[in-house]
Each structure stands twice: as structure tokens, then as C-alpha cells.
């Protein structure tokens, strides 16, 4: 075994933890700073930015203003609608396509897998000119439907790739046994394969959700009305408009951060396990 003196060992352990703690603080502190200051009066924000809200400086005036002046509830509703619809449809049709690639052998198999994987590397944003034309031609401009369709197309490639990698590990015997019993191909997929894929689906779900919720580009381009704005765009527009009103700015940022923060705490294990399980090779 290594014969390092004990002192040196504990010293290096301290150094390792020192670096990790410093970096963790660096990662959390800016967000923490915004959260605490959103609950302070203007005076409190400027006199001592680093202090926690106290009895004197506590104030929710920022939140009152934000909720009074903007349709944050509508933005939230829109973001949730878009994200949930995208997620549900992507996972369903993505899993179906992944199974078609992983579960059967036929001529076009490899070519189709490659075709569907192009979108992993090529950003969908580069097709914006024509997406815009298409959405206008379909009469979907300024609707959440347009966003959902674009986001499904954007999320499918990675979803299909990861799920088909996962489905290839499902033993073939299961399918063969079911087929011998005369079970239809559809029931094999929905009743045997899909339940077995659940862990991978959860991971892919998180991967899909985050870019959709956070996207600024497509809401900026495909929506104009306040009634179809998502949270990300709503915050961007709101902060741009009230840039000098620090209470409102901090409160709106907090409103945008908190839901993501809560979801992250709930799903972080799932997400991290997904990444470290070699989902991305």
C-alpha cells in the first residue's frame, strides 16, 4: 500500500475539498445573491447587497410590481403547456421510432438511424428562415402549437439515439416469446418494451425538458403576443423594459429561478445518473 505519511494525506484531502467547496460556492453564490435581494427594499438592496433580508429591509414590493405589471401567470402556463406537450409527444413517438430502429432488422435500418441522428449535431436554429416561412404558411404564427412542433423536431434526434441504444440491450427472447404466443407487434411494444425502457425514458425526459423550457430563440421569433409568451422570453422582455427598477428585476429573476431550482433538486439524481450511466457516449 501507499506509504504516505498521514499528515500529508490529510493535507491533500483538505486541498481537494477546499477546491471543491470554493467552486461550489462560486456556482451557487450569484443565484443566492439574486434570491436574497429580491426580498429586500430598494434601500436594502443597495446599502448592503450581501446581507440577508432583515426585519428592516424585508420587502416584497418587487414581486407585487412584477405580478401587477406583467402576465407572469400566463407565461408560466404557456411554458408548462409547451414543455409538457413537447415532452409527452417526443417521448411517445421517439420511443416508437427507437424501437423500430433497435428491434427490427431491415434494409434501411442503418440509413434511417443516421438520418435521424443528423439533428444531434446540426442545430435546428440554422433552418430558422424556412421554419418561419413554414409556420406562416401553416397559419400557426403566434401559437404555442408552432413552438411545440419545432421543439419536438429539435428533441427527437437525441431521444431516439439514446432510447435505441438502450433498447438494443433488451434481450431478444422476450420479444420472440411474446411473438410465439401470437401477441401483436404493437402490444409487444406498448406492454413489454415500453415499461422496460422506463429508466431511460426518465433520463431522456430531463434532457428534453431543460432546453425547451430555457429556449429564447423560437419564442422570440415565432410569438409576438404577450398571451403566448413563455417564461424565458417574458423575463427577457420584462427585464429589458424595467431595467432600472431593481426590485422588479430581481423579483422577476427569482420567479424564473425558483421553479427550475425545485425541479432540479427533485430530478438531479435522475439526471446525473443518466449522464454518468454513459447515456452520452
Amino acid at each position: 500500500m501507499s506509504s504516505k505519511p498521514l499528515v500529508q494525506k490529510s493535507l491533500s484531502a483538505t486541498l481537494v475539498h477546499g477546491i471543491l467547496i470554493c467552486y461550489s460556492i462560486l456556482a451557487l453564490w450569484p443565484i443566492f445573491l439574486v434570491l436574497i435581494n429580491s426580498f429586500k427594499s430598494r434601500k436594502g438592496i443597495f446599502n448592503d447587497p450581501m446581507a440577508l433580508p432583515s426585519a428592516e429591509t424585508f420587502s416584497t414590493i418587487g414581486f407585487d410590481k412584477v405580478l401587477g405589471r406583467s402576465n407572469f401567470d400566463v407565461y408560466f402556463f404557456n411554458s408548462i403547456t409547451v414543455t409538457v406537450l413537447t415532452l409527452g409527444i417526443t417521448l411517445l413517438i421517439g420511443a416508437m421510432a427507437a424501437w423500430a430502429l433497435a428491434g427490427y432488422k431491415y434494409k434501411l435500418n442503418t440509413l434511417l438511424a443516421f438520418y435521424l441522428a443528423i439533428g444531434i449535431m446540426v442545430p435546428i436554429r440554422l433552418g430558422t428562415v424556412s421554419i418561419l416561412k413554414l409556420v406562416v404558411a401553416m397559419g400557426l404564427m403566434n401559437t404555442l402549437t408552432a413552438l411545440v412542433l419545432v421543439y419536438i423536431a429539435m428533441s427527437l434526434p437525441l431521444t431516439i439515439f439514446i432510447l435505441s441504444e438502450f433498447m438494443q440491450q433488451i434481450p431478444n427472447d422476450l420479444k420472440e416469446a411474446a411473438r410465439c404466443d401470437g401477441v401483436s407487434e404493437y402490444r409487444i411494444f406498448f406492454q413489454i418494451i415500453l415499461p422496460l425502457t422506463r429508466p431511460a425514458i426518465a433520463t431522456v425526459g430531463v434532457f428534453t425538458m431543460v432546453p425547451v423550457w430555457n429556449d429564447l430563440w423560437f419564442p422570440l421569433i415565432l410569438t409576438a403576443d404577450d398571451s403566448v409568451r413563455t417564461v424565458t422570453l417574458g423575463v427577457q422582455q420584462f427585464v429589458g423594459q424595467y431595467v432600472t427598477d431593481w426590485n422588479s428585476v430581481l423579483a422577476s429573476l427569482t420567479l424564473a429561478i425558483v421553479p427550475v431550482f425545485i425541479l432540479y433538486i427533485i430530478f438531479s439524481r435522475q439526471l446525473i445518473r443518466g449522464i454518468t450511466a454513459g447515456a452520452v457516449k
Binding site: S24, I124, I131, L156, T276
Partner: protein, 310 residues
């Protein structure tokens, strides 16, 4: 790949049914727009708005017309600076953090991981505003912090100066996305069989030597993946600069990159009218750059790395 015992010679309707929805949506909203956008880059509208074919005319305008080429080359070179900073700062920090996290003796790594990955999950827009507030001289948070470590004289309005804005924004982006290389490298390090490192430790090697001589060569393919992901993400970036600096990517276009340039060309700005043809041309150039990067990566770098490590 599992085998498939073909049950008869019937047409495999079920495969088509499984594939159809995904292939249709993906083709219609991803592949078709990409191809159609490439096509539009060869057209220009005349006075009536009707499109006419101009061959490489739009590209010629982009490269050589004074009004366009300055903006284009500026955005392109800024984009390379953004990429260079990510490669030189983000990925080494990610590597360091991953290496520390994967040390067998470290406790509480779940907490560290969760904390360090949090910014990556946030919207770029939110992060942009958060740092804009922190660096704002009016608020003075950054100044106060520098004062604590005795460096207050170095404080400048970094986001507002032409000479420092791009580097500052790049570092904000590094801060946010360091979690991605960290997690990918960390996953690769976890996959290294323990027998390999244990033998070396028993022979008296320390963790430093084990890392550089055994682990590092084994994770080279992952570092390759991280590099190409960084490249694609940087040449497709837009949100952060739009959030902090707006579409004009100020001061004086010092933070303009391909994404913001594309946005302005497509939708117009100040006196310049928006143009589909020129917008598609800029998008086509971004496509070409990303494609070149991906091809170089797959056919040159990654193949050699894989051969090297196995």
C-alpha cells in the same frame, strides 16, 4: 443488434407505423427547413418581392460588400475567440473538477456535483441578467468583493468596455456551462476499471501520476466529444449575448457573434432591412462552419484518439 426472425413475407406495416410520426415531424420541421434554407441562400428578392436566382451572389455580398463583410468577419472572429476561451478555460476547469470528484476518497461528491451543475440547468437569459447585475458598477457587488481581497483598483465596467466585453461574456458562459464537461469527463473517469489504477497505486504511484499516466489517455475520446460539443454550442450561441447586450451586440459590435449577426441580418436592425436571402446565407455559413468542425472531428481527431487509447 438483435436478430429478427421474419414472420412471413408480409409488408412490415408495424415498422412504418412506429417510424412515421417521428420521421414526418422531424423531416418537416428540421431537415426540410435546413435544406430549404440552403436553397433560399441562392435567391434574392427583387423590388416586387419575387425571388430570383442569383447563384453565389449573396455569398459574394457577404464576403466582399463593405456593408456586410465587416460585420461578418467581425462576428466570425469574435466567435472563434469565444470558442478559444471555452476550450482554454471551461474544459480544463471541467477536467480538474471531474478529476477531483472521481478521487476514491472524496466524500460528499453528490452535494458538490449537484451544486456545481446547477447553473447549467438555468436559462441563459436568467444567468445573463444575474451577472449583469453583479458586474453593474451601480450596485457595486463586484467592487465590494474585489475590495475584500485588496484588488479594488482593478475593477472596471467590464461588460461595457469594447476591450473587455467579449472576454467577460465568454467567462460568464464558461461559468454557466462548466458543468457539462465536468459531468461527461466524470462519467468517463468512473468507467475506468479499478484494477487498472489499483495496480499502479500498489506499485507506489500517487494519484497525480495515476491520473496523467493511466486515466488521462483513457478519457481522450471523451475530451474529443467535449471539444466538438463546445464547438457546436459556441457557433450556435445567441441567447447570452442577446440577453446581456441585445441584438446590437454592443459596445460597437464588440460582442457580436454568428448567432447575433444572423438575427440582425434576418430581422433587420436600425436602418438595415431584414432579408431572408442574406439571413439564409449567414445560416448556411454557420452550417458550413459547424459541419467542417464535426467532419474534422469525426474523421481525423476522434478516429486517431480511439486508436490511440484502445
Amino acid at each position: 443488434m438483435p436478430g429478427f426472425a421474419k414472420s412471413g413475407k408480409r409488408f412490415p406495416t408495424h415498422i412504418v407505423v412506429f417510424l412515421a410520426p417521428a420521421v414526418i415531424v422531424y423531416t418537416l420541421f428540421m431537415i426540410y427547413p435546413l435544406l430549404d434554407s440552403l436553397r433560399v441562400s441562392f435567391y434574392t428578392p427583387d423590388d416586387t418581392g419575387a425571388l430570383s436566382f442569383v447563384g453565389l451572389g449573396n455569398y459574394e455580398t457577404l464576403f466582399f460588400d463593405e456593408n456586410w463583410s465587416k460585420g461578418f468577419w467581425n462576428a466570425l472572429s469574435n466567435n472563434f475567440i469565444l470558442f478559444a476561451i471555452h476550450m482554454l478555460v471551461q474544459n480544463p476547469i471541467g477536467l480538474l473538477l471531474a478529476a477531483l470528484l472521481s478521487l476514491p476518497t472524496v466524500r460528499g461528491r453528490n452535494i458538490y456535483r449537484t451544486a456545481m451543475f446547477l447553473p447549467t440547468m438555468m436559462s441563459v437569459v436568467i444567468i445573463g441578467f444575474v451577472w449583469q447585475l453583479i458586474l453593474n458598477p451601480l450596485w457595486g457587488v463586484a467592487e465590494t468583493l474585489l475590495d475584500i481581497i485588496g484588488m479594488v483598483d482593478y475593477f472596471q465596467p467590464w461588460l461595457g468596455q469594447e476591450s473587455t466585453a467579449l472576454v467577460t461574456i465568454s467567462l460568464i458562459s464558461v461559468w454557466q456551462f462548466v458543468g457539462i464537461p465536468m459531468m461527461l469527463i466524470y462519467a468517463a473517469l468512473l468507467n475506468i476499471p479499478e484494477e487498472l489504477t489499483e495496480a499502479a497505486i500498489i506499485d507506489g504511484a500517487n494519484h497525480w501520476q495515476v491520473f496523467w499516466r493511466i486515466k488521462f489517455p483513457l478519457i481522450l475520446p471523451t475530451l474529443g466529444i467535449v471539444s466538438i460539443l463546445t464547438f457546436v454550442a459556441n457557433f450556435n450561441a445567441f441567447d447570452l449575448i442577446y440577453a446581456i447586450k441585445g441584438g446590437l451586440a454592443g459596445p460597437n459590435f464588440a460582442t457580436d457573434i454568428m448567432g447575433t449577426f444572423f438575427y440582425r441580418v434576418l430581422f433587420g436592425f436600425q436602418l438595415q432591412m431584414g432579408s431572408n436571402g442574406m439571413g439564409a446565407t449567414v445560416a448556411a455559413m454557420m452550417f458550413l462552419i459547424i459541419l467542417t468542425g464535426v467532419i474534422i472531428f469525426f474523421f481525423a481527431v476522434q478516429r486517431r484518439l480511439l486508436r490511440h487509447s484502445f
